[in-house]
Subunit: 196 residues, 2 copies
DNA sequence: AAGATAAATGAATGGTCATTCACTTACAAT
DNA sequence: ATTGTAAGTGAATGACCATTCATTTATCTT
């Protein structure tokens, strides 16, 4: 039996991310991907059922990796402020380290393709975050709020900041840099909003 | 000279929004649009240079309309908390009133096509918001912060809340409803974070 | 060395795409 | 009523698309 070439598989994944980011969801095609990865179009169909499967698998992998990273060192029983700062640091670190992967996810985030990924991730991580919130409320470190409100105030500003930072890279004139100090300052503002 | 049929133009715009939302950026085609609008493909090219032009024009129109609405009754010299509450109300109102238009914009927001729209909108509205921020800082109603940080904390949670609300409509089990009371409560949390 | 088998391929297929163009239609001006 | 003209059309074109398949290639087992 011929052994399979892991380099090819890696090249397919890597170039898929690059192409999706540069050409957008609508400009992305299997034939272009095959050429970019130095592979026959038919080879891609050995590893993925079809184009949708490729995109969904990739987005699920990357999203999982991102969320998993954000949970490193995290414990739902943590002090609220401490837990928040840890999450902010973890998430920002990961996004800055893998800007292409972040851009890939943002490109397909509003497409119907992302629904499956989102469902899986919710199942995997919502419970842990839910316990964190519940715990913090019990300890009077957090306002009693619907989960969606908590999430919106706690994390939406973080992702917006990262987006500003990433855009700054491509545009030449303006150049917003998200330093660690600024990140933690903003996190503390958010903590202030959420603390009774 | 034959008079032009405004109904056709309106149908093209309306169906373009519907199709983009239902099929996504990648599933959207001129031929499908022509059929949905009851029009020849060639007719679309009378009003739009090409497919990109159609999408860009539409997204610019809708974004402008949305931002314009958000500025109703607004004055950069306003008291900070008052100005924030007005903006939150205006933006939420508009998004809930025209959910398809919001969905359209979110579908193309991360595509290269949106850059032109974004540049125009920044030029038009950033100045007014900048003065509001500057004024509030001067009156000691707002922390001195980079504009991006202010924006992220002040508005990212709002859009996230609206997104949760809109998603609730399609899914049957969970059903997060963004009431006016909850909206203003959350706005006040954000104000607390931003006030010295 | 030969056979078995999964990996990998290039070319082909049928479909859809954006865009164009020769043409018809409807209306305002004459 | 005739005419000029912009609005509107349907069919056609060439490019590109996702996917398949007959075939070849590389490696493991024997």
């Amino acid at each position: 039996m011929r052994t399979r070439d892991e380099n090819k598989i890696a090249a397919i994944k890597e170039k898929a991310i690059e192409l999706m980011v540069s050409d957008g969801l609508d400009g992305f095609s299997i034939q272009k991907l095959a050429k970019a990865a130095g592979v026959s179009p038919a080879t891609i169909y050995i590893y993925y059922k079809d184009k949708e499967d490729l995109i969904v698998q990739l987005s699920t992998d990357l999203t999982y990796k991102m969320l998993d990273h954000s949970m490193q060192g995290f414990d739902p029983e943590m002090d609220f402020a401490e837990g928040m700062r840890l999450q902010w640091k973890n998430r920002a670190n990961h996004c800055m380290k893998y800007p292409l992967e972040l851009a890939f996810i943002e490109h397909i985030r509003y497409s119907p393709l992302y629904e499956k990924t989102k469902a899986e991730m919710t199942a995997r991580f919502k419970d842990e975050m839910g316990r964190f919130v519940h715990c913090a409320i019990k300890n009077k470190q957090l306002h009693k709020l619907p989960f969606e409100v908590y999430w919106s105030v706690a994390f939406a500003p973080l992702y917006q900041l990262i987006k500003f930072h990433s855009q700054g890279r491509s545009h030449k004139n303006e150049h917003f840099v998200l330093s660690n100090k600024l990140l933690m300052q903003t996190c503390d503002l958010v903590i202030k909003a959420l603390t009774p």
